[in-house]
């Protein structure tokens, strides 16, 4: 039934024999993918712990906690976190989550593991480079973690590192936290650039016979476009980071304006522009949003189709929407800077372009619903997470329509409305994409099944939990509650509008939701060790190439027998077929197969 291209006698790289070459410095894309996932898992729990500290500080700004005093003798003397410590936790939470979780897991983790198999390749185009990408990223993570432990502690300038706060030691507690932050980001850029190169060449060059671009699974499309975004965006951040580091260490004045007096110290820099940093940063920063979310869109399309037993509604429209979102992502960075004093004409253009992104996003949402419509839906846990993704994407997207308009953004800028918006769409939605990817591919990756019941409990608590956390923040934004402040409980207009009670509610919801993540962690580890063993190559009755090969896949993915593709990626419920799905490598029909 499965047609095979040719028997391959040459392995791409020899089967590793030692522990080190097999599990640590491996060049196998599957091992590297899992390494990325584990890095993201550790980072996610660190980032979550930091968010808990942030929430605690907001609700109990004066309450002494003995545990905090023991853990952070400098940051929380007498058990109360200092405002600087609060900002440091906030900065590290954002940085860790955006870079080390949202950028690594969907692309470096799942993309690395699945993409070469889905295109019918034995490995990435440049396996050694792939290994270097991961270890550069790992070094970057270590550098970031080191920032906690140096004198002066972690940086306090936010994940956006706006100068002059990020550029002047006089403005902060001093020390090397910010320098380590920049070093970490620079390393991360290099690792991501190398990774992006590999993804692009693999997709363009290593597709198996018959796998045209328009037969690629939408997951591959999103990883491919994400790689292009990464390639074009991370270089800019690298440049900006180099300039910022020079402002800090070499006495240059790229971003530091003249005439500053900070903490009673006269700053002898002249003529630099903090706005220049904002432009460079957001030229990277906005594509970064799509780097985080696009793979989640891909996996959602993939799973909605598989679990409704229907082809993706409007495959071509989906592809063009992905390309449009990727392209538009590069021309809207100014909407992060409406209050920076930019010309209203520029703001108008950025605003219009931002609104235009609503069109491909709406196409995608419409097609997801169209895919579900009339399907024979199987409510397995990957499907639940994917439907959760659609819900969060819509909720987070709608608040974006408000923020994209300069007149409304003038009010909402730097309020909790923004916090709610980007957490829902960029943070939580992307993380739901990771959950659905993990539950979907877990049997393939590890040859064991996850506990379905635990997954469902985790889904419902998390789904309700994130809405309970971020839903009320929209209201906080509407009552003009500024973000990033360590202490707002005694502000009259906020207290009068009920902000204190809401913050209390949000913190409790966050605690419950964070606790539920340990349920997922437990399920992950337990299933890895004790889960039901499966050798079924295709437990979900899916159509793409990763479900053809053995579970878990062999070292070179297809044991030398690379399949030929004859079908589109989502041929479900094909009339006249004995089963309700046609795998991509099945023999061609008597009638020519319908290309999507």
């Amino acid at each position: 039934m499965t047609e095979v291209a040719e028997h391959v006698e040459v392995h791409r790289h020899p089967l590793p024999t030692s522990f080190i070459t097999k599990y640590i410095f491996s060049v196998d894309h599957k091992v590297i993918g899992i390494q990325y996932m584990l890095l993201a898992l550790v980072a996610a729990f660190v980032g979550m712990g930091l968010s808990l500290l942030v929430r605690i500080r907001l609700v109990w700004p004066a309450e002494p906690f003995g545990l905090l005093e023991t853990l952070f003798p400098v940051g929380a003397p007498d058990g109360v976190m200092t405002p600087e410590f609060y900002l440091a936790m906030l900065t590290m939470h954002g940085t860790i989550m955006v870079f080390m979780v949202l950028t690594t897991a969907p692309q470096g983790g799942f993309g690395n593991y699945i993409l070469p198999i889905q295109v019918g390749a034995a490995d990435m185009a440049f396996p050694t480079l792939n290994m270097l990408s991961f270890w550069t990223t790992f070094l970057s993570f270590m550098a970031l973690m080191a920032a906690f432990f140096v004198q002066g502690g972690a940086p306090i300038s936010g994940w956006t590192a706006y100068p002059p706060l990020s550029a002047l030691n006089e403005a902060t507690i001093g020390g090397y936290g910010q320098d380590l932050w920049i070093l970490s980001i620079a390393l991360f850029c290099i690792g991501s650039l190398l990774g992006a190169l590999n993804f692009i060449v693999t997709t363009l060059h290593l597709r198996t016979k018959g796998l045209t671009m328009m037969r690629l699974p939408l997951t591959v499309w999103t990883w491919f476009v994400t790689a292009i975004l990464g390639l074009l965006a991370f270089g800019v951040l690298l440049s900006a980071g180099a300039l910022l580091l020079m402002d800090r260490m070499a006495g240059t004045s790229f971003f530091i304006p003249g005439g500053l007096v900070v903490n009673d110290v006269i700053i002898d820099h002249t003529g630099g522009s903090p706005i220049l940093w904002q432009h460079l940063f957001w030229f990277f920063g906005h594509p970064e949003v799509y780097i985080a979310i696009l793979p989640g869109m891909g996996v959602t399309s993939h799973i909605l189709s598989t679990f409704s037993r229907k082809p993706v509604f409007g495959y071509k429209a989906m592809v063009y929407a992905i390309l449009a979102i990727g392209g538009l992502g590069f021309v809207v960075w100014g909407h992060h800077m409406f209050v920076s004093g930019m010309s209203p004409y520029s703001a108008f253009v950025f605003s219009i372009l931002t609104m235009v992104i609503g069109v491909p996003s709406a196409i995608k949402t419409f097609n997801w619903i169209g895919t579900l419509w009339g399907g024979r839906i199987r409510f397995a846990s990957p499907m639940l997470y994917s439907i959760g993704f659609v819900s969060l994407f819509v909720t987070g997207g709608i608040s974006g329509i408000f923020l994209g308009q300069p007149t409304i953004d003038l009010f909402f800028h730097d309020t909790y409305f923004v916090v709610a918006h980007f957490h829902l769409i960029m943070g939580v939605a992307a993380i739901f994409g990771m959950f659905s990817g993990m539950t979907f591919w877990f049997p393939k990756m590890f040859g064991r099944l996850m506990n379905e019941g635990l997954n469902k409990v985790h889904f419902w608590i998390t789904f309700a939990g994130v809405y309970a956390i971020f839903g009320p923040m929209h209201y906080l934004g509407i009552i003009a509650h500024p973000r990033r402040y360590a202490e707002t409980t005694s502000v009259d207009y906020l207290a009068a509008a009920g902000a204190n009670e809401l913050h209390y509610f949000i913190t409790i919801a966050a605690m419950v939701t964070i606790a539920a993540q340990f349920l997922f962690l437990f399920n992950f580890v337990w299933s890895l060790l004790k889960g039901k063993v499966t050798t079924d190559p295709n437990p979900w009755e899916a159509t793409t190439l990763e479900w053809v090969t053995s579970t878990p896949p062999a070292h070179d993915n297809f044991e030398g027998k690379i399949p030929i593709v004859n079908h589109g990626p989502y041929e479900f419920s094909v009339p006249g077929n004995e089963r309700d799905f046609v795998m991509q490598c099945n023999a061609p029909d008597a009638a020519p197969a319908q290309d999507h």
């Binding site: 290593l206 045209t212 800019v236 004045s253």
Partner: protein, 228 residues
């Protein structure tokens, strides 16, 4: 069988390289270069597929590097118009020499490629050596340029214009140094004359990168000359 010979080879570790065994892709699925329209199919030899893959890798990588320098350029253009503290200075004269050296090295690496295509191992070796030496000379002349500037009292923090000069030359120098490492590696492998299925791909890839570095320098030199 060729694979038996290549398997025990040490793994290649330069950025433009990947394990020699990755070369098996071509045999793996009959020229895995699926194309729209024909949907792939067996075409091109094993080595031709590797050459194409390496060249594509260099092109994509160059795209990333272009963005690095595009960001520097836009920062330079914006910063030069701000603050009113921008002061132009004369570029060190030795940069003309370094530019000439780098242009020559592009010619010599083309000579190396010609020699390889004609099967002239000695010629290939010689022209690769020449290119690597010219690359090293370029880096030395750039350092001399820095020396000339510091002798005139122009340091990194002296003025934004000098800051950008040092940033751009150092950024380019670092990337060229990477190319030089790759080239040295290729020279070493050719010199050892061991069987090497990806030799052609590595040389083609390195040459493409070298030309890109050359073009990038010419662009930066013109930028530094014009935007003062």
């Amino acid at each position: 069988m060729a694979s038996v010979v290549t398997t025990p080879e040490p793994r290649l570790r330069t950025p433009t390289q990947s394990p020699p065994l990755a070369d098996g892709h071509g045999t793996g699925n009959g020229g895995a270069r699926a194309r729209d329209g024909d949907g792939g199919g067996p075409h091109g030899s094993n080595s031709a597929a590797a050459v194409e893959r390496y060249k594509l890798g260099v092109k994509v990588g160059s795209g990333g590097i272009v963005m690095v320098f595009a960001a520097f350029t836009s920062a330079l253009v914006v910063r030069s118009g701000l603050g009113g503290d921008w002061k132009a200075f004369d570029l060190p004269a030795v940069l003309w020499l370094s530019t000439a050296v780098l242009l020559l090295s592009s010619i010599s690496i083309e000579k190396a490629k010609r020699a390889m295509r004609d099967g002239l191992e000695v010629g290939l070796q010689r022209w690769l050596n020449v290119t690597a030496i010219l690359g090293a000379v370029f880096l030395v002349t750039q350092l001399v340029g820095w020396q000339q500037l510091t002798d005139r009292g122009i340091y990194v923090a002296t003025n934004p214009s000098s800051s950008f000069f040092y940033v751009l030359t150092a950024g380019h120098g670092l990337h060229l140094f990477g190319g030089l490492l790759a080239l040295t590696y290729v020279v070493f492998r050719v010199w050892r004359a061991t069987p090497w299925p990806t030799k052609e791909a590595a040389i083609e890839g390195a040459a493409l990168y070298w030309h890109f570095m050359d073009g990038l320098w010419v662009y930066l030199f013109v930028l530094l000359l014009v935007w003062r």
